[in-house]
């Protein structure tokens, strides 16, 4: 007697009958619909890339690879180069991470491991609040509080003590790479703290207990056992923070000085890709000008893509190594 539950691969007729049956039962529909949702994210990304690629065609054909090495941004002479913007984006993102990562991970460790539960939960509320503040507000904070502090106290102070370094030379305007980096750091710290804290708290209890039972101090068990265990998640949070820092627009344009320059000094004003697109796109007349701005958008997209790809690679490598060590 033929089995009533049909095997999909048995024959075309029985296969379609089983498909129709699953459809009627709702399983296949659910699968199809959720598959479409998942595919739509890929589609949107592809559409984005296609649009950026197409609309930047004029600039790409005119400038080619030189676009990445030219420093000039002249809308009148129609000479466009991306180098100052790429430099500014990378420098501000780096400065923000250099400040935010130690602070963020340190805070997360405190909140997850060393603080009493009530304190940890109430501080977490404020951190989530910080993460939800719109970036324009951070920009205002930057303009009215950070910039004057930088110009009147921090930058002259740094110049006096570390002024021999090219990093801290030049006139102190208040706005510039360093200020933008600091404002960005304030914006991305909540992300690092939130995610790292979650990851640290999810480290299984027996890891800590095993370390403590072997005679480790509280700090040693935290730093040498728990944190390395949560390494993947913490790295993930850092790359989340990096993604935000790379794309941040309003807060950056209010404190970076909006001057396309490349300078070794962190006091120098600069420009970032997101800031120049936000500033110049609406008034950009001229097809080549628009196309150059769109090509900048494409560059930012590819930069983010590249860094995220590197992040994934890093996570894969470290987890393989970690697994290897666990097995050894």
């Amino acid at each position: 007697m033929a089995a009533t539950t049909t095997v999909p691969s048995a024959s075309p007729i029985t296969g379609s009958r089983s498909f129709l049956r699953k459809l009627r039962e709702g399983d296949e529909i659910a699968r199809l619909i959720t598959f479409l949702f998942a595919v739509s994210t890929v589609l949107v990304t592809l559409l984005l890339i296609i649009e950026l690629w197409r609309d930047s065609a004029l600039a790409r054909h005119k400038f080619g690879l030189q676009f990445f090495f030219t420093r000039v941004w002249d809308p009148i002479a129609e000479q466009f180069g991306a180098l100052p913007f790429i430099y500014g984006t990378l420098v501000t993102a780096t400065v923000s991470l250099v400040i935010a990562v130690p602070l963020g991970i340190g805070a997360a460790i405190f909140l997850a491991e060393l603080a009493p539960a009530r304190l940890s939960d109430s501080l977490e509320f404020f951190i989530d609040l910080l993460a939800a503040v719109p970036s324009v507000i951070y920009g205002l904070l930057g303009v009215f509080i950070v910039v004057p502090l930088m110009r009147d106290y921090a930058q002259p102070g740094l110049k006096k003590t570390l002024g021999f370094l090219p990093l801290f030379s030049g006139p102190a305007y208040g706005v510039g790479f360093l200020t933008a980096g600091i404002v960005l750091a304030i914006m991305v710290i909540p992300y690092i703290i939130s995610v790292s804290r979650e990851v640290l708290m999810s480290v299984p209890r027996d890891q800590r207990e095993a370390a403590l039972s072997l005679g480790a101090t509280r700090w040693e068990s935290t730093w040498k056992v728990v944190v390395p265990f949560a390494r993947t998640g913490i790295t993930g949070s850092i790359f989340l923070a990096l993604a935000r820092a790379l794309g941040e627009t309003m807060a950056v344009t209010m404190v970076i000085g909006n001057t396309p320059t490349i300078s070794a000094s962190l006091f120098s004003p600069g420009y970032s890709i997101a800031a120049v697109i936000a500033n110049e796109f609406t008034e950009a007349t001229g097809d080549l000008y628009l196309s150059a701005l769109i090509e900048l958008g494409l560059v930012l997209f590819l930069l983010t893509f590249l860094l995220n790809g590197l992040a994934r690679l890093l996570i894969v490598i470290t987890s393989q190594r970690g697994a290897g060590m666990a097995n050894a």
């Binding site: 004057p148 110009r151 001057t259 500033n279």
Partner: protein, 344 residues
């Protein structure tokens, strides 16, 4: 269930009626310059009160956006602080088969503002001083080019911090147009445009950004729209005009600038009124224009727009001064009324 269905049916019916009623009004769309937005929105509002069947919607997306959208045909008219150049005019002609006309509406001016500790009076600036400062040639406040016309003012030996606009704008267009006229070096090195390659200086976004930078940075100088400076009580300097007098910008001196050029105004109204002749003229002033296509397929829209422009040239001008915009000179008004006949 029946109550819900009933409610839905009633809502749909009401919204359809509302849609029909609203649709009965003639809706005209425009987009463009942000600078004249206050007076434009007042005008469109007042005009609709007198002509309830005409509704004009205006989006201030920027002069560049206005030119682009009217060329694309997504809006019925555009508005721009800088006239369309020959390339843009040709693009419009090629796309539509007919031309586009410029109609000046009001005038504005750009003023040099600064923040020099200890200086409370209005400084006098010569064209050479302004060009030199923005080119980066003049770097200290007590440079003779600045100190010369300001005898009696104690200018510090401090570095000048230059502030300009980071976003493209008609204000920049007017400022750089003036500098191109008074300085050959500026003309060849930088040129004029809504966005230029500034030799020196920090960029602030919008008039507000520039003002914010200047207020917070001692020894800084920048440029902002006159109306913005007046309504925010910002100190600004006088500029030497082509007759040699130092003029502080106000409605009278801006109108004088336009009047000087009115007699030699070209028929297409695309004229720059920076550095004009005239004893009392302020040298850094500009018209702002409505960009209206020559032909309309919808005769109702054409008549409505022509009606609006006629009203604007007569009654509308009276609202301009309340909002601190300078009125058009009478010769220009007369010329524009005649030019309206070109729209078919």
């Amino acid at each position: 269930m029946r109550r819900i269905t009933g409610a839905i049916v009633v809502t749909l019916a009401l919204s359809m009626v509302a849609a029909v009623l609203v649709h009965a009004a003639l809706s005209i769309n425009g987009a463009g310059a942000t600078f004249p937005y206050p007076v434009y929105s007042k005008w469109f509002d007042e005009y609709q009160k007198k002509n309830s069947q005409v509704q004009i919607n205006y989006q201030s997306i920027g002069s560049g956006g206005g030119i682009k959208q009217v060329t694309e045909g997504t809006v019925d008219f555009g508005a721009s602080d800088g006239p369309m150049n020959d390339e843009q005019l040709k693009a419009f002609q090629d796309k539509h088969g007919f031309g586009i006309l410029h109609f000046p509406t009001v005038m504005g001016a750009v003023v040099p503002t600064y923040n020099v500790p200890g200086v409370t009076s209005a400084l006098n600036f010569t064209p050479d001083a302004l060009a030199g400062i923005f080119l980066g040639r003049i770097t200290k406040w007590n440079d003779p080019a600045i100190a010369g016309p300001n005898k009696g003012v104690n200018l510090p030996a401090a570095d000048i911090v230059v502030v300009h606009r980071s976003d493209g704008s008609g204000t920049t267009y007017c400022w750089t147009d003036y500098l191109s006229k008074v300085s050959d070096e500026w003309k060849t090195k930088v040129g004029k445009g809504t966005s230029v390659n500034w030799p020196v200086g920090l960029g602030g976004k919008g008039n507000e950004g520039v003002t914010g930078q200047i207020k917070n940075a001692p020894n800084s100088i920048g440029y902002v729209e006159l109306i913005y400076a007046v309504s925010n009580n910002i100190p600004y300097g006088s500029v030497k005009n082509s007759s040699g007098s130092f003029i502080k910008a106000d409605l009278a001196s801006v109108s004088a600038a336009a009047a000087a050029v009115a007699k030699t105004m070209p028929d297409d109204f695309r004229v720059s009124i920076t550095n004009p002749p005239g004893e009392t003229a302020y040298p850094i002033a500009t018209f702002t224009w409505l960009l209206i296509p020559e032909r309309f397929s919808d005769s109702a829209k054409r008549d409505a727009i022509k009606g609006f422009v006629n009203w604007m040239l007569v009654d509308g001008q009276n609202y301009a001064e309340q909002l601190s915009y300078a009125k058009l000179p009478n010769e220009v008004i007369a010329k524009e009324k005649k030019a309206l006949g070109k729209i078919q």
